[in-house]
């Protein structure tokens, strides 16, 4: 019997949340190395939501956001997207580049490349936590980045989801460096069969 994401029970969500925490821990370490500063990360929220509601979670479909998209291959296939609000992305780039935090210039090529790398590290950390816990082979692709309306960017993974169901797994992550907090969101989009593979490997479904 095939399994839909909205069929996930609390235990299964807890498992995914815990993987989120471990992944965030890995990501914080990687980011701290990159910044040469202490970075803390939390996974405050993990939820299953209808894709039409994701853009509301990001303050509306027209909100300007930065999205980093990776595709996933190996034992599971699908997509992973890391989304930052435009202002949060600016703060992050400013931290990375050692610039004043409130600076807001258009992103240049290097900024975009840095953001892409952050998305890559964070998504990669989540996926490697998932891989080591499940023993599955999970290979992320080279990331790609887009800066545009939340709705437009989210349409890409939403469409992938739309083929199979109407719900996505949404992980909100908060990272802080000193007193500066930046909130970013992950949207994990395994293909339908991959959800089962994943939950079976985690031992939460038989």
């Amino acid at each position: 019997m095939s399994m839909e994401i909205n069929d996930l029970n609390n235990l299964q969500l807890d498992v995914l949340r815990e993987i989120g925490n471990i992944g965030a821990g890995n990501a914080a370490t990687a980011l701290a190395k990159m910044l040469n500063k202490k970075v803390d990360m939390d996974v405050p929220k993990i939820k299953v939501m209808e894709f039409k509601d994701i853009s509301d979670a990001l303050n509306g479909a027209e909100t300007l956001v930065v999205g980093v998209l990776l595709s996933v291959t190996g034992d599971i296939t699908g997509n992973m997207m890391f989304i930052l609000e435009y202002n949060a992305a600016h703060i992050l780039v400013n931290i990375l580049m050692g610039r004043p935090l409130d600076l807001q210039e258009d992103f240049n090529e290097i900024d975009l490349s840095a953001l892409k790398e952050v998305g890559n590290i964070l998504s990669g950390s989540y996926l490697s936590a998932l891989a080591s816990l499940t023993g599955l082979r999970i290979l992320p692709s080279v990331p790609d980045i887009a800066v545009d309306m939340a709705g437009a960017i989210l349409s890409v993974p939403a469409i992938e989801f739309g083929k199979v169901g109407d719900n996505v797994l949404y992980i909100e992550t908060e990272f802080s460096e000193g007193s500066t907090k930046v909130v970013g969101d992950f949207v994990l989009i395994p293909d339908l069969e991959s959800y089962e593979t994943l939950l079976k490997a985690l031992g939460v479904v038989s």
């Binding site: 479909a61 545009d148 939340a150 349409s155 890409v156 469409i159 083929k163």
Partner: protein, 161 residues
């Protein structure tokens, strides 16, 4: 005062004059706007995928080009629109990410546009104008008084078709 009716992702709405039908942040999805200038009945669909036949879960008919266009037309006729005077405008179908152009996911914008056009041709609804493709998102507004379609973007200007 005109009513503004929002059309969500994988959603469709029809209305009588005076209204503005809008859908926000179209990316690879396609907005199909139908309008009858005689009765001023308008309809807008936010389509995500080309075909309901290729999907495992096809219960939402507004999601697919083949089923959404037909439903939109039917709903407009129920509101009094005259089938023979209805025409269409299209917007959206962008490719938001540059990589992996060969995969289906990345060409989905183009495929959505093609499927919508095919369905419109089959139903013999003329396409008056389109603003499709590119690599940027669009917010669109369909005005019931004259059927104009306003297209707003971030960094790529505002236009009217």
């Amino acid at each position: 005062m005109e009513n503004i009716i929002k059309v969500g992702m994988a959603d469709l709405q029809t209305s009588c004059h005076p209204t503005i039908l809008t859908t926000l942040g179209l990316g690879s999805c396609v907005g199909v706007a139908l309008y009858d200038p005689v009765t001023k009945v308008s309809g807008l669909a936010h389509i995500m995928l080309p075909s309901s036949l290729q999907a495992r879960n096809n219960s939402n008919i507004a999601k697919f080009a083949d089923t959404a266009v037909t439903k939109l037309l039917e709903d407009m006729i129920k509101l009094g629109a005259r089938r023979e005077s209805i025409s269409a405008k299209l917007a959206g179908g962008a490719q938001m990410f540059a990589f992996n152009q060969s995969t289906d996911l990345m060409r989905i914008g183009q495929r959505n546009v093609a499927a919508s056009k095919e369905k419109l041709a089959e139903l013999k609804i003329p396409i008056l104008a389109e603003d499709t493709g590119g690599n940027y998102g669009r917010t669109i507004e369909l005005y019931s008084n004259d059927g104009k379609l306003l297209i707003k973007t971030i960094g790529h200007g505002v236009k009217q078709i």
